[in-house]
Amino acid sequence: MRTESRSPILDSVDIKHRIALWVLVTIGIEAALYYADWWFEPQHRRNLVFFALLSLAIFYGVYRSVVNWFYFLFIKGTPHIDAPAELSVDVFVTAMPGEPYDMFEKTLTAIAAVRYPHQSYLLDGGNDPQLIALCRRLGIHHLDCRNIKGAKAGKVNYALTQSTGEFVMVIDPDHIPEPQFLDRVLGHFGDPRVGFVQVVQGYYNQSESLVARAGAEQTYGFYGPSMMGMNGLGTTVAIGANCTFRRAAIESIGGHAVDLAEDLLTSVRLHAKGWKSVYVPERLSFGLNPADLHSYFKQQLKWSTGMFVVFFRDYFRHARTMTWNQRLHYFFAGTYYFDGLTTAITCVLPILFLYFGLWAVEMELGEFLLHVTPYALLTFVVGWFVQRWYRHPSEKGFLWRGMVLKKGTWPIFLLGLMYCVSRTKVPYLPTPKTAEKGVFTHLVIPHLAVIVFSASAIAYSLLSSDRFEVGTQLMIFFAVCNIVLMTPMVFIAHGNWFRRAAVEPVTDVSAEERPRATGRREEALS
């Protein structure tokens, strides 16, 4: 499962593919322009406020596509550099009370088996005697972190004072590194300006549930073409786990950032300090994705709130000392979760129109489809084309699960924005480590509301025929799209209804056997 052979495209990108990509992206931009040029024609505007809102929502999506395309244009592989001998390396793993012992046994065994000589540290927030014994058996330093504030980053900073290695690799407890991990990474620190090196995070629980599969699908593009594009732009970001830092770099920014989005903030600070980063697009460790909707939403709430906070609080301060590419990149990243707000707008406006005649736009459905189709087609074509840079053949295909889950997480992203704006303190949520097997109706109340209100609004407009004006068909079309997009979430939330018979006999056992993933922020940036 986890043996990874090097693929030749890591080292260089075929010029044919690069030209094809430029051509496709150029056509895509033309298609987006064609769509926008038509959308903003004055005769389409009705109520100016609603028009502005709907345009914002629609063209936010276009903006995200163009941002993705922008990254793809700069896709760059990373030729391997052999790791020099006798570098001093520390490996940090954090443990929180309540996390399953099994998981640590697997992870720590794998860390001990990493070939390049290194010192490993378990940063134990619970000072668990079982873990102490495990560490002693595997030759891993055990640090008692019971009194350390600041969750993971706090422990990492404490561990930095207790260790001396020139390089520090931070890995999450659910992640199992490959033996060659450090050999593939350390050579890139030969450039003294390189502050950190990030690698791909793979997952091994895709088959556990639809949510786990969908979550993994969301990362395929990110760790493939998107991060490779960032690599080309010099904006590779640190993801909470599997990142190897230069101690001098971390110390130059006063230690690992302590924040909800601590990995992102650490990247921002390191880049603002002038450190470079390298992406090694190799699957060198494999972890877990949240496997149920509740855990997934918790993870996404943490990421989205954290991302907004970093964007509004830190971005503009640090952008001054960044390169242009980095300024752009962190702007793109910081605006990623506005998707929640824009999806909410596109869900609500058709309902308002169909019930109350509050027009945002008046367009013929046929004309709309004519102008949106080239753009929609090109997003798919480009998305398909860049699959050649996905990290593993098994990742390719039509990744509808990831898209559906992403679209369906809009209430969480919106909540994250509201938390950020209202400065509500979100605790660093300890993501549950035990499987939640409930039926999550309460999590999809917004989705159900959209479905019910959209459907009734459609029925209402169809039954009151005098309201059938030119733009009505378009609004019905939008409402139908929203219903189609939201319905899968309802099924996902009630997945256990359909699987109850299979699940019940083994409930207790499997609950212990399944470790949960803690959060990472990867697809947030795609």
Binding site: T26, I29, E30, L33, Y34, D37
Partner: protein
């Protein structure tokens, strides 16, 4: 890359994007135009029952429809046949103002379809219920719309429905030509015209008229304010005359002007209605240019650039007084050169004669 190179590249790429976009918009415009004209062609062909890229020929001759001998002679010389036969009738109280089934039968018997221009003159009525002559013409389209002339229209319509065969009815043509009393010269307004049209057509429709093909014929471009609406009009029409030097004395307009020059702007407007277009009167004088060339050019231009024109009615009047001051000779028989050009032009397979056109028209319409 150095920074200036990057900036230059960025600028060049943006320029490329813009140029491409302009190209795409131009292509879109072309494609839309092509699609629009395709659809128009199909609609026009289906509404007129004349195949796409074909045009019927028609003729106005003062002898018609009383005598068909001159027509036979003309057709034999030209080597083409005229499907439509045009003649005129005024409103009034005399027997000649009534619907004339015998004349209509004559046209049909010769295998032609009548194009009847029905002119709402109102001074020819002797009915006592009407306003006195001195006031009768003031804004009288409103009176028509209000039913003052129903006594006449109903009789006429009933006779037309009883007769029952399809014919073109060009009612109240050239509604802005000040020589006609139904023009604004009597303070008639566009809304009066439209209401009068609706009213008259309504009387026919009430009687169940299915054989009447309604032809709306404005005088100049810019007359869409008088258009009664798609539901009330079957064909639209235009009259195209080249007065040559006489034109200058009339209006100070250009003197000699080709068909294209006279027709293109009104055609643009009419073709946007996606109705079949009839050139209900067409002719040229010889004052100031070459008549044969004018007719030749007209036929090639119609065939090439006027796909919505589905009927071309040649105005073949040797002694036209309607322009007021002069007696104008529009006739084509007098000039062998003109006859030769028309003969050659009509042999273009764009211009056709449909011998059973009347039968085709009498099949139920959509």
């Amino acid at each position: 890359m150095k920074r200036p190179v990057k900036i230059a590249f960025l600028v060049a790429y943006c320029v490329l994007l813009l140029v491409l976009f302009k190209g795409i918009k131009a292509f879109e415009g072309w494609a839309r135009q092509a699609y629009y004209s395709y659809v128009t062609r199909q609609m026009v062909a289906s509404a007129s029952k004349v195949p796409p890229d074909k045009c019927l020929l028609g003729i106005y001759k003062p002898e018609l429809p009383y005598s068909f001998d001159p027509l036979t002679w003309l057709e034999d010389s030209l080597g083409s046949r005229f499907t439509l036969v045009s003649f005129y009738q005024a409103w009034g109280s005399l027997p000649e103002h009534q619907f004339q089934p015998r004349l209509m039968d004559e046209v049909v018997a010769h295998g032609r379809v009548p194009v009847l221009t029905w002119e709402p003159w109102v001074t020819g009525f002797t009915d006592a219920r009407l306003k006195p002559l001195s006031q009768r013409e003031h804004r009288y389209l409103k009176d028509i719309a209000d039913g003052a002339y129903d006594f006449y229209i109903r009789d006429w319509a009933r006779a037309a429905v009883t007769w029952g065969k399809p014919f073109f009815l060009r009612f109240a043509h050239e509604m802005t030509n000040s020589q006609y009393p139904w023009s604004p010269v009597n303070d008639n307004r566009p809304e009066d015209y439209i209401r009068a049209w609706w009213h008259v057509r309504g009387l026919f429709d009430t009687l169940g008229a299915r054989n009447v093909i309604w032809v709306w014929c404005p005088y100049t471009a810019g007359s869409l304010a008088y258009y009664p609406g798609d539901k009330f009009v079957d064909w639209v029409a235009m009259d195209v005359f080249n007065y040559g030097d006489l034109q200058a004395e009339n209006s100070g307009d250009v003197r000699w002007a080709s068909f294209d020059r006279r027709a293109s702007s009104i055609y643009q407007e009419l073709s946007s209605l996606r109705k079949p277009i009839m050139v209900a009167e067409v002719g040229s004088t010889d004052m100031g240019g070459s008549r044969p060339v004018w007719y030749r050019e007209m036929l090639t231009q119609v065939a090439a650039n006027y796909p919505s024109i589905k009927a071309l009615v040649i105005f073949d009047d040797p002694a036209d007084r309607t322009s007021g001051r002069w007696l104008i000779d529009w006739s084509i028989e007098g000039s062998p050169e003109v006859m030769a050009e028309i003969s050659a032009g009509c042999r273009d397979n764009h211009f056709v004669h449909i011998p059973d056109y009347g039968t085709i028209l009498s099949k139920p319409r959509r």
